[in-house]
Every structure is written in structure tokens, then in C-alpha cells.
């Protein structure tokens, strides 16, 4: 003790002698630590940015081609004797002709077009020639004809999908060398495809089908689209929004403004925080047990997906909503009570509007998380192969549907390389939706904040 006291004046005198122009050892150490910390921060941000850029480049380079697709456009003769033997143009009768019959029609049309353009097919068999066309094409034509039965007997200019391998050839995924090793496509077919392109029959264009069409089977990636998944995700988001916004806001307002502070509310608070940390797949099991097995709701339905995602999203909405309510200054509550407002009036007239931007931000971030959630949906059967569009609300909520992230998952598990491109394309669509939601969050927040 006396030692410290005795040495105390020494640093003081040293400090007096030091110049402001020269840094002493302590300042040097402190400044070095600060500089080091800044470098750590910059390195962390650079790593994060590089990871983001890498992610975006890999997704966009693989996924962007899925928005363009190779099509064949040619005149197709619709022979009445094959497609409608009865001649009464009755759709019920016409639908007895299967896609096999339409495949023959398309094949004949392609052969005719090749002959007209004077393209040399060499030794290719008719089956090989027809192989440049997608397996989906007969179904496309059949649907079109059944929708417009009066066209039978005429010749129409129709656009059909090219085979996925041919499409891959134009996108650089399939080469002459790889085609020799591939049992699904022959090099001659690729040569023919090049000639068809020169003749103007085959061309690449923007692929609306990728956004509007339903999923397709393993053999025809070229026909697979996100239509059902987008509708399914949209329906689920409606369910999540309609349920979790009122429940979440009511729960957080009650807990923050009305509930007594005691052991029970503490317990509830801890458990809400715990719920937010529960792995999402657990909610999937819960949904399977409660909504499907117990309540008997249909599998794969957006209503069940929406309910499960609501359960998952609620704590993630309540926590930021409570934080937003807590950040409203107590003086505002005092002011409202002081002029004789009831507790409810003070909350709804003053506290809630002030907390609204924070609540909305939490809400939209919760929705965005729900939109990208995959695991719980797998358990309630949303990974099923669904080709029929769900109906209009509210019945549509109970029809089978898929969801965007689940579609990504199911495409990545399929063998055909065409689906890899589709999966990345679906991720791009998902990212666009998330960007739109974030933009909406920012706009809403700005609008609410402008009032004060």
C-alpha cells in the first residue's frame, strides 16, 4: 500500500515531461488495439460480402437459363379422322384419344417441316427425329385441342417444347462429347437441332411456363414450372398473415401492457423465447400430429402448411412486437392516462401506432422466414408431386399444393441435370419474392414513420 502511494508521483512527473507530439506506450497500445479491431471488422464484412457475391453468382449463373427455353414452332395438321372419329367435336368423345395419338400427329408435322425446309436427316430413324421434341409436347397439344375442339381438321401454327437434352445443348449443358456417352440423346439429334435452328423452326425464348406451369415428371424437366408452388406459397402466406398478425399483436399487447408482472407471465415470456428457438421440423411433426392425424385436415394442403408456419412464426413476431411496444416511451402512456384515456384507449390510440413500424418489420421478417421454410412442410406432405393447380380461395386452401422452397428441395433430388437449373431458377424466384417483401416492409415503415 505504502509502495503504491510512494510511487504515485513518478508517473505524474513522467506525464508532465512527455510531449503531445510523441505517443506514449499506453496510447500506442490502445491505438494499435483499435486499428486491429477495425481490421477484424473489415475482414469480417469482406468475407460476408464475398460469400454473398459467390452465392448470388452461383445461383444466377446456374438458374438464369431456366427462364429461357428452346421451343419448336411449326405448322401442325390436326387430322379429323385421327383426333375426332365421331366428327361431332364432342370433347368427352375426343378425350378418348390419348397423348400417343397426338405424338404421332406432332411427329408427322415435324417430318413434314423437315422435308419442306430440305433438311438432310441422314440415317436417323423417325423415333430419333421425334426425340428432339419434349415428351410433354403431345400433352400440350392435346390440352390445346381439347380446349379448342373447332380447330380439328385445320392446320395450326403451334409451339412445342424441345427435349430437355436439346435445350441443354443450346445452354451449353450438353455437348457432342457428352451426348456420345448419354443414352438419352444422340449426337445426330444435336446436329439436327442445329439445322432446325438455322431453318427457324427451333428457337429459344423467354419461358413463361417456368413461372406458370405445374411441376413435371422426372423425364421432362423442360416442362417443369413453379405455378403450383407459387400459388401454394401465396396461399400459405395468406393463412400465416391472417392468423399470426392478430394473434401475435394481441398476445404481445396483452403481455406488454395489461398482464401483471408475476411468475406466470415470466414463465410465458421464457417459453415464447424458447419456442422461437425450436427447430422448425419439430413444428412439422406437431402439424402432422395435430392438424392432419387429429383434426383430419387434408395432406399437402396450404391450410395445414399455413397453420404450421403460423405456429412457427408466432414467437418470431411476438418477440419483436414486444420489443417495439417496450420502446415506446412511458411518458406517452402517462400523457394519455393523464387526460383520462382508458388503458385500452392509451394502447390503441397512442402506444400501438408508435410501435407499428417495429411490429410491421418483425411481421414481415417473420413472413419472409416462413416463406423460405422447408422442413416442416416436408413432414405434412407438401413435397408431394402436384400437377393440378389448387382452386380459388377458400376451397383452394384445402387442395393439394406445393411450396417454393419445397419445390427447390424436390428438384435438387431428381436425376436429370435439367432440374439443377430449375432448382436454381426457383431460388431466384424465391429471392425475388423475399426482396419484394422486404421492400414492402421498408415502404410501410417509412409511411408510418412519416406521420409523426
Amino acid at each position: 500500500m505504502t509502495d503504491i502511494m510512494g510511487s504515485a508521483p513518478v508517473p505524474a512527473s513522467r506525464a508532465r515531461r512527455s510531449s503531445l507530439m510523441a505517443q506514449d506506450a499506453l496510447s500506442k497500445r490502445r491505438n494499435a488495439a483499435e486499428a486491429r479491431f477495425k481490421i477484424y471488422g473489415i475482414v469480417a464484412i469482406v468475407i460476408a460480402m464475398l460469400a454473398l457475391v459467390w452465392l448470388l453468382i452461383s445461383i444466377f449463373s446456374v438458374g438464369l437459363p431456366s427462364f429461357r427455353q428452346t421451343f419448336l414452332t411449326m405448322p401442325i395438321e390436326l387430322p379429323a379422322d385421327k383426333l375426332d372419329k365421331s366428327g361431332v367435336r364432342d370433347v368427352a368423345v375426343m378425350s378418348k384419344v390419348t397423348t400417343v395419338g397426338y405424338a404421332a400427329v406432332i411427329q408427322a408435322a415435324l417430318e413434314k417441316a423437315i422435308k419442306e425446309k430440305g433438311i438432310d436427316v441422314g440415317t436417323m430413324t423417325p423415333k430419333d427425329i421425334a426425340g428432339v421434341i419434349s415428351l410433354e409436347a403431345p400433352a400440350q397439344l392435346r390440352n390445346y385441342v381439347l380446349a379448342n375442339p373447332e380447330l380439328v381438321g385445320t392446320t395450326i401454327d403451334f409451339e412445342v417444347l424441345a427435349n430437355g437434352r436439346i435445350d441443354g445443348f443450346f445452354k451449353g449443358r450438353v455437348t457432342m462429347e457428352s451426348a456420345q456417352l448419354d443414352s438419352n440423346v444422340k449426337p445426330e439429334q444435336l446436329v439436327l437441332a442445329e439445322k432446325l435452328t438455322e431453318a427457324g423452326i427451333m428457337a429459344k425464348r423467354f419461358n413463361w411456363g417456368f413461372i406458370t406451369a405445374p411441376d413435371a415428371s422426372d423425364q421432362r424437366p423442360e416442362a417443369a414450372g413453379l405455378g403450383v408452388a407459387i400459388i401454394g406459397s401465396f396461399y400459405m402466406m395468406i393463412v400465416v398473415l391472417v392468423l399470426s398478425l392478430p394473434i401475435g399483436v394481441a398476445a404481445s399487447v396483452y403481455l406488454e401492457e395489461f398482464a401483471p408482472k408475476n411468475r406466470w407471465t415470466d414463465l410465458i415470456e421464457v417459453n415464447i423465447a424458447n419456442l422461437a428457438a425450436v427447430p422448425s421440423i419439430v413444428f412439422g411433426i406437431l402439424g402432422l400430429a395435430v392438424f392432419i392425424n387429429f383434426a383430419g385436415l387434408p395432406q399437402s394442403a396450404p391450410i395445414v402448411g399455413g397453420l404450421v408456419l403460423t405456429l412457427m412464426t408466432l414467437p418470431r413476431i411476438i418477440i419483436p412486437a414486444r420489443a417495439a411496444l417496450k420502446s415506446v416511451p412511458p411518458s406517452i402512456r402517462d400523457a394519455a392516462l393523464g387526460v383520462g384515456a382508458s388503458k385500452l384507449q392509451s394502447v390503441f390510440h397512442h402506444v400501438l401506432p408508435l410501435a407499428a413500424p417495429g411490429i410491421l418489420t418483425g411481421m414481415i421478417i417473420g413472413l419472409a422466414q416462413a416463406l423460405g421454410e422447408t422442413a416442416p412442410l416436408l413432414l405434412i406432405g407438401m413435397v408431394a408431386f402436384v400437377r393440378d393447380y389448387p382452386g380459388m380461395p377458400l376451397d383452394g386452401f384445402f387442395n393439394p399444393a406445393s411450396a417454393l422452397p419445397v419445390q427447390v428441395f424436390s428438384w435438387t433430388t431428381r436425376g436429370d441435370p435439367g432440374f439443377v437449373e430449375r432448382a436454381s431458377g426457383a431460388i431466384i424466384v424465391l429471392l425475388i419474392f423475399l426482396l419484394i417483401m422486404n421492400a414492402v416492409a421498408i415502404i410501410l415503415r417509412r409511411r408510418f414513420e412519416r406521420r409523426w
Binding site: 416511451p329 411518458s331 400523457a335 392516462l337 393523464g338 387526460v339 383520462g340 384515456a341
Partner: protein
């Protein structure tokens, strides 16, 4: 001590608005206010002075039951407004607060327009029948609060955009717009500069003609300037209550004398 207070009150012929008897306030285990007996007279400015933590703000908040919002706070004894017990279970504190308005230490206008700030109270209490009446209430309230000339051209601009002194006058306008019978002010000038303080003090003096005003203040000069009656609180006790002039010139309790001469507090 009690005898002295009664003697003082006898001097004053005006009727009392609020009668507090044996008021005890507990914050959990903490006995914050002990046996307070006060008669607050109608159309009079009553000042509560005392060192920090002496219970004067606590007592003020008892008068419109703002203490109800504090967890673990309990009030015993009787406080009567016009001979009605305000702590009776039948009393709705919301109705009470419409009669007993309050202005807080820090200006706390709602983050809304000046007009909406003043119009809020009359709106929720249904005091006006139409827009024209509401406009009139807003104008008279702002006039009474000496803010009309500064605010009449910007009624729709936000109340939070006003200066500190203007904000506090806006809060006063908001409090008097509901036509309260008593106006409680908890250190209304502590966040204001001397010029704004002077304006608010002038205002308090004018308001005395319509309401009974109770003001908590740390400034003894302010208490001396604006009030007719003064109560001195110390450590949760009401030490002395009487006419302001008498308290400041001829205090009866040695603790009051020590405080006003700056020896304690």
C-alpha cells in the same frame, strides 16, 4: 403540528376541493408517505415543496390515482374530491382523471398534430358534439395556455416540433381542454429555461381563476411566486402546511426553516 394547520385553514374562508386524511402510500415494503392530512382549496394554487424523495410527487399522483399504474403501490387513508372518496371501489379512475388533469415534469405531447393533442381529451370524453365545437374548445384551451398566437397558423404541424416551453404549454392546454376541476402539475418547469418558466408561471396564476391548481416544485422561489398555500414534505411526512407567505417568512417547524434557508435538502 396538526393544530397549527387547522388554525391556518380557519383563516381561509374558501371551501376545500380535495380533502386528504391519514394518507399512507407504500411501494411494496417501502413506506413512502405517512399520515398526510391536506385540504386543497378551490381556485387556489397549492405548492408542494421538499427535498427529492420526500413524497410530494407521490402524493400528487395519489390525487388522480396515477399511482394505480405503478406495480406494488398501495394507498391507504381517504382522499375526497368534493366529499366523494376517489379510492372507493366504485370509482373509475378514468373518470376521475378527466376531472383531475395532470401536467408532467417532462413535456410529453403526443406525436400528433397540435390540434389533435388538444382535441384528444374532449374527443374521448365526448365533450363536443361537432367539429365546430371541438375547434372552439381547442382554440380556447390554447388561448388559456397562452399558446394560441404561436400555434394558430400551424395547428396541423406535429406537437413534438415545438420548443420545450411551447410543448409544456401544449401539455397544459391538453390538460385543461377536458375542463378539469383540479390541475396537478408535477415540476412543470424543471425542463424549461427561465423565460419559458416565467410564461408557465404567469399561466398558472391565470388558471387559478378557473381551477384549483396543485404544483410540485423544487424551486422555492417558484413556490413563493405562484402559490397561495404551500405544503412542505420531508421524508414522507407532511411537515407544515399553510399560507405561502407564512411558510416562507415565519415557518413554525424548525425543519421547514432549515429547508427554506438551504440547510437541508
Amino acid at each position: 403540528m396538526n393544530d397549527m394547520r387547522i388554525a391556518e385553514r380557519d383563516v381561509d374562508s374558501m371551501e376545500s376541493k380535495i380533502t386528504a386524511r391519514k394518507v399512507q402510500v407504500f411501494y411494496g415494503q417501502n413506506h413512502a408517505l405517512k399520515d398526510v392530512d391536506v385540504d386543497i382549496l378551490d381556485k387556489t394554487v397549492t405548492a408542494f415543496i421538499g427535498p427529492s424523495g420526500c413524497g410530494k410527487s407521490t402524493f400528487l399522483r395519489c390525487l388522480n390515482r396515477m399511482n394505480d399504474t405503478i406495480d406494488g403501490c398501495s394507498v391507504k387513508g381517504s382522499i375526497k374530491l368534493d366529499s366523494e372518496d376517489i379510492y372507493d371501489p366504485k370509482v373509475d379512475p378514468v373518470q376521475l382523471r378527466a376531472k383531475v388533469g395532470m401536467v408532467f415534469q417532462k413535456p410529453n405531447p403526443f406525436p400528433k398534430s397540435i390540434y389533435d393533442n388538444v382535441a384528444y381529451g374532449p374527443k374521448i370524453h365526448g365533450l363536443t358534439r361537432n367539429k365546430a365545437e371541438l375547434d372552439e374548445v381547442v382554440e380556447t384551451s390554447l388561448r388559456k395556455a397562452a399558446l394560441w398566437n404561436e400555434a394558430k397558423d400551424r395547428l396541423q404541424s406535429p406537437g413534438t416540433g415545438l420548443s420545450g416551453g411551447q410543448q409544456q404549454r401544449l401539455c397544459i392546454a391538453r390538460a385543461i381542454a377536458t375542463s378539469p376541476e383540479v390541475l396537478l402539475m408535477d415540476e412543470p418547469c424543471s425542463a424549461l429555461d427561465p423565460i419559458a418558466t416565467a410564461q408557465v408561471e404567469e399561466l398558472i396564476d391565470e388558471l387559478r381563476s378557473q381551477f384549483s391548481v396543485v404544483i410540485v416544485t423544487h424551486s422555492m422561489q417558484q413556490a413563493a411566486r405562484v402559490s397561495q398555500r404551500t405544503a412542505f414534505f420531508h421524508l414522507g411526512n407532511l411537515v407544515e402546511y399553510g399560507e405561502t407567505g407564512q411558510i416562507f417568512t415565519n415557518p413554525k417547524d424548525p425543519r421547514t426553516e432549515s429547508y427554506i434557508t438551504g440547510r437541508i435538502g
